[in-house]
């Protein structure tokens, strides 16, 4: 095997340039011939087909989340100030440098901001890619391969689907393919202009999407394998690098001005990973192009590998680089494979061309009309390809994913106040549909490793995921309740991405995030205010939240006989009824934020088991128990001191022990009191100290009631106790074995410390007894093995 350099084209056409200026009729005829020579009817038909497939009913379905982000950024670039509240000029995933958005912004300056313009730009790039693919195929293998390649790309459901979306991938693919065309032309013509063109195209490819840097890798490996690197002289290299850097200037400026933001986004975006099976991209291709085209792709690759032709090298490297990169790259998405599709189309087009040639060679022996045979074989293959792609093109055309979002946004724009905030299920971007169409503050609900831009420009980075998880739960557990509580979110929009007619059960609520979002609607009293229908099926449901808390809460303050109760989280503007122990004691009405305040008379005889309950008209309720007076008892030098809180203010207080009055006091303005008296001469085992006020509020405690605290550290147990009879002998027994003993102090307190024996078990009990065996406290040590 040998590898000779590619043959170069003859420079110029002497027949045209040499000689005198021909007479005018001759010049016209020459011009017409030239136009006719370049007018390729099959190519025009393919381009027209590609344009039709990409532009027809382009705005039938509204923008998706990512599309809305790019369209919004383009609007900001075009100077539409109302969008600058919602969109920042920075990719949150550090994925691109706004090239596509810049192009769209130019269109916006002419046509105004619209979703259709953004999609039209992407569709134009997609059609242009068909032309570039034709040129590459033609340059590598000839016109017929170019035509087959262009045909395959133009009818590929995958390319059409992405060409109809205002995503970056169509621009990326066009620039990627253009860079590859420049490489091929440079190798074949040796004209430096193609090299510099490649440098510029590669630079723009990187700006369209950072993954466009793969074009450099493909070109470099192609030059190395093809032994064409020798054409790259130092001067050419320097100029090409200069062109690359000049074209890269916008990137350098953006990096210089926003480096911290880039670094911050990078730290979260590198965590992004998709939980998809390893054959995900195969599934994507099958679902969009169908098994027949996929089989053709595979045969095309096998054909090229088998031929081991040098012309197959570039498309093979191109395909391999993109496919391997995205297969290894942890984040996967349905649109990532598009840059590889021209290469696939060229390899497959080459195979179809060879098939047509073989068919012609095979049949020409029997049939004299060779041209007819060739035309028929090409036509048959064309019909086969188009026929196989047609059902999937139909599916692409009829794709109604996210069809409800635009309708929901339109309704919100018309029917809600400008300050109303919206939350919807999102993987990071869907909420921006509402920002784009409705100019409403919008927030996501879901799990994703992507920063969120709050209305006004505040950037909330994605936090680190919990251990063993891939995505953080901030936008499921933390932010939604907070934003609803403070009133920044008052509408929830639930939507379905796909639906059949009729839909199956699993298609309305399918994912865990959808279930949790439904739970959010239920918890916050979501009231259905609008449904977006598409072909008689609901596709988006808009709920207005009627409360700001998942469960109402109550708090109260007591001022003498007045009880002020504040509630929050009730149904907004709903009537609220207050009951105490089942008896109605007041009425009120919740405010617009679901809060309610009632001034009530403090119940005459509050009991701990009686509930003060607020219930709103929607049945949401909250309850509390009113305060039970609390007292404390201490002694010093045989003088007992009783303190208490929670009594009727300025009320006479009576202290009794074991049924005998032993002291009097008067409560202060805040309901507290202090009473001192001589310590009871004798304490009874069940004797209670009881404190009552004028209203009957009552606090009590048993004076002798040993209380123990224990701690275990390094197998050593420490006990501190109080409430023992002064001087009493206290023992600690562990599983019946005496561990330590001590005598209670004059205030009845003890301290013990001992080491646990080896082989202890959590179930074994520690008993602490006084000598009279009146009080035994049993402690389950409870430490884990």
């Amino acid at each position: 095997m040998s590898l000779s350099p590619l043959k170069t084209l003859p420079r110029g056409r002497p027949s045209v340039r040499v000689g005198k200026l021909r007479p005018r009729p001759e010049r016209w005829r020459s011009l017409v011939r030239a136009v006719a020579r370049h007018f390729d009817p099959p190519l025009m038909a393919i381009i027209s087909l590609a344009a039709f497939l990409r532009f027809w009913e382009l705005g039938r379905v509204g923008l998706r989340g990512d599309e809305a982000v790019y369209a919004g950024q383009a609007a900001v670039l075009a100077g539409a100030k109302e969008y600058s509240r919602f969109f920042i000029l920075q990719s949150r995933g550090d994925s691109n440098f706004l090239l596509f958005q810049e192009v769209v912004s130019v269109i916006y300056r002419v046509t105004g901001v619209s979703d259709l313009s953004a999609r039209a730009v992407a569709a134009t790039f997609s059609v242009l890619t068909v032309i570039v693919t034709y040129l590459i195929g033609k340059a590598l293998f000839g016109r017929r391969t170019g035509l087959f390649s262009a045909l395959l790309l133009s009818v590929s459901g995958y390319a059409v689907m992405l060409g109809r979306l205002a995503l970056l991938d169509s621009a990326l693919t066009f620039l990627f393919a253009t860079a590859m065309l420049c490489v091929i032309k440079w190798i074949s013509t040796k004209r430096s202009g193609w090299l510099y063109g490649f440098a510029a195209a590669a630079s723009l490819t990187v700006q369209a999407k950072i993954a466009g840097g793969l074009a450099l890798l493909v070109a470099a490996s192609y030059l190395l394998i093809n032994r064409s690197a020798g054409q790259l002289t130092r001067r050419r290299l320097l100029i090409a690098a200069g062109v690359f850097l000049v074209a890269l200037t916008p990137v350098l400026v953006q990096l210089a001005t926003n480096w911290e933001l880039y670094a911050g986004f990078l730290s979260t975006s590198i965590r992004r990973a998709s939980a998809v099976p390893w054959y995900y991209y195969g599934q994507v291709l099958v679902s969009n192009d169908g098994p027949f085209l996929l089989a053709l792709y595979i045969i095309g690759i096998a054909f090229a590998v088998g031929r081991r032709s040098r012309s197959d090298l570039l498309p093979l490297l191109w395909l391999l680089t993109v496919a391997v990169f995205y297969q290894i790259y942890p984040l996967k998405a349905f649109n990532y494979l598009l840059p590889a599709l021209p290469a696939l189309s060229i390899l497959t087009g080459r195979m179809l061309d060879a098939l047509a040639q073989w068919f012609h060679t095979f049949t020409v022996r029997a049939v004299s009309a060779a041209a007819t045979v060739r035309a028929v074989s090409v036509a048959v293959l064309t019909v086969l390809v188009v026929g196989a792609a047609a059902p999937y093109l139909r599916n692409t055309w009829q794709d109604d994913s996210y069809v409800g979002l635009k309708g929901a946004a339109t309704w919100l724009a018309k029917s809600t106040p400008p300050g109303a905030g919206v939350m919807t299920i999102s993987r990071g971007s869907a909420q921006y549909v509402f920002a784009f169409y409705a100019h409403r503050d919008s927030y996501p609900f879901g799990r994703f490793n992507l920063a969120t831009v709050f209305p006004g420009g505040k950037i909330v980075p994605a936090s680190a995921p919990p251990p063993a998880a891939r995505t953080p739960r901030d936008w499921v557990n933390r932010w939604p309740p907070r934003l609803i509580r403070n009133g920044r979110v008052s509408y929830l929009v639930y939507y379905t991405t796909v639906a059949d007619d009729p839909p199956e059960e699993s298609q309305v609520v399918e994912t865990s995030t959808q279930r949790q979002f439904r739970l959010l609607i239920e918890r916050y009293g979501g009231r259905l205010v609008h449904t977006v229908y598409y072909r008689h099926e609901g596709r988006a449901w808009i709920y207005r939240l009627t409360t700001r808390l998942p469960h109402p809460v109550l708090s109260y303050a007591v001022r003498g006989a007045a009880l002020t109760v504040r509630g929050a989280g009730f149904t907004e503007n709903a009537a609220v009824t207050a009951t105490y122990n089942g008896h109605r004691i007041g009425y009120g009405e919740a405010n617009g934020d679901g809060s309610v305040t009632m001034s009530l008379r403090f119940p005459d005889r509050p009991r701990p088991r009686y509930l003060l309950t607020f219930t709103d008209a929607a049945g949401r309720y909250a309850s509390v128990t009113l305060p039970r007076p609390v007292i404390a008892y201490s002694t010093q030098h045989r003088i007992a001191t009783v303190t208490g809180i929670g009594f009727q203010r300025s009320s006479p207080i009576t202290v009794t022990y074991h049924g005998v009055v032993i002291g009097h006091a008067r409560s202060a303005a805040d309901g507290s009191f202090v009473a001192s008296f001589r310590q009871p001469a004798r304490l009874f085992r069940h004797g209670q100290l009881v404190v009552t006020d004028r209203l009957g509020n009552r606090g009590s405690l048993v004076l002798i009631n040993p209380r123990l605290r224990h701690s275990v550290a390094h197998g050593r147990v420490t006990l501190h106790g109080s409430g023992y009879p002064p001087g009493a002998l206290v023992t600690a027994l562990y599983r019946g074995r005496l561990m330590a003993s001590t005598r209670a102090g004059m205030h009845g307190s003890i301290s013990l410390s001992f080491t646990l024996p080896a082989g202890t078990k959590p179930g074994w009990l520690l008993e602490v007894r006084d000598t009279a065996d009146h009080y035994t406290t049993v402690i389950q040590m409870g430490h884990r093995r």
Binding site: R310, L320, Q357, I521, L528, W541, G619
Partner: protein, 302 residues
């Protein structure tokens, strides 16, 4: 495959340069580089398949089923809430171990028995189990699955699953039979036996709309009363579990609640389901008393 030289036709003559190269095959060096690249790609693919989170990494398996004591269920995840989070490893499995904890889960209405399994079963646990096996008894099985006591050595029969929401934790979920080694402690109904001793019974009154539009919120109100020989009282803290099944009997919604002191519980739901006929099943349990109720529900297009 040999290289086929296509007929380039008249129109390709002006760009004929690369076409002639088709006849040239790759050199040995080029072939080596290409094979190296393919090998790298193959290695990457193998990593994806067999790496730490590779799709072909096998699960830990499940303990064998011990036939005779209970029948194996054909659909082990029937009545289990949100079954999509569970990956069934074995429809039927048997495991033995020491009961470390018995706990009611108010979030989903299940009772969870935490079991320190016998040594021969430990290899079936995953790192997410942290050495103990959660055995779940679902509300629909509670009437006929007595819960074991703490410290008891028991045998559990049920489905062996991996919980995808809990990092692949191995669980027996649900368990439909538990047999205890010590008969003295066996047969304990959840929540004690106070209610069953009194000879009372639970009575449920369910209020739900017969029909609701797709996406509309609706409330199912359940009032529970405890009918005793001489009086009827409101049954508070009754564990309620609601399951909504579609026309094929497949569960689509689940929620758990407990009644308040007035014996009431509200299930606030949103009908984000496909239009059709559904049935609302309510399972109530308290102190060894169980009761069920059912009501039909139609989700309609507007």
């Amino acid at each position: 495959m040999s290289a086929t030289r296509p007929d380039q036709g008249q129109a390709t003559h002006d760009t004929a340069g690369p076409d002639h190269a088709d006849a040239h095959r790759l050199t040995r060096t080029q072939l080596v580089i290409t094979v190296a690249v393919l090998l790298a790609a193959g290695a990457a693919l193998l990593y994806v398949l067999l790496g730490p989170s590779g799709v072909l990494r096998g699960s830990t398996g499940a303990p064998a089923w011990l036939p005779g004591a209970a029948a194996c269920r054909a659909d082990p995840l029937a009545h289990v809430h949100d079954p999509g989070r569970l990956k069934v490893v074995a429809n039927c499995a048997t495991v033995r171990g020491l009961v470390e904890q018995v706990q009611y889960k108010p979030g989903d209405g299940d009772w969870q028995v935490t079991v320190a399994v016998d040594p021969q079963y430990r290899r079936f646990l995953t790192p997410a189990d942290h050495g103990v096996l959660p055995v779940r008894v679902i509300p629909t099985d509670l009437p006929h699955v007595p819960l074991p006591a703490l410290g008891q050595h028991a045998t559990f029969y049920g489905a062996w699953v991996l919980n995808k929401n809990l990092h692949g934790r191995a669980e027996m979920h649900p368990a439909w039979r538990i047999s205890a080694a010590s008969a003295a402690l066996a047969g304990r109904a959840p929540g004690g036996t106070a209610g069953s001793r009194t000879g009372g019974r639970l009575v449920l009154r369910v209020t739900a709309p017969p029909s609701v539009a797709v996406g509309a919120p609706f409330t199912v109100n359940v009032h529970c009363a405890l009918v005793l020989p001489r009086r009827t009282v409101r049954a508070s803290l009754v564990h309620l579990f609601i399951e909504i099944t579609n026309s094929r009997g497949v569960g689509v919604r689940w929620q758990a609640r407990s009644t308040n002191l007035l014996g009431d519980a509200d299930f606030r739901l949103v009908a984000l389901d496909a239009p059709g006929r559904f049935a609302v099943h309510i399972y109530a349990g308290k102190s060894g008393l169980f009761q069920t109720a059912e009501q039909s529900l139609t989700v309609r297009r507007v």
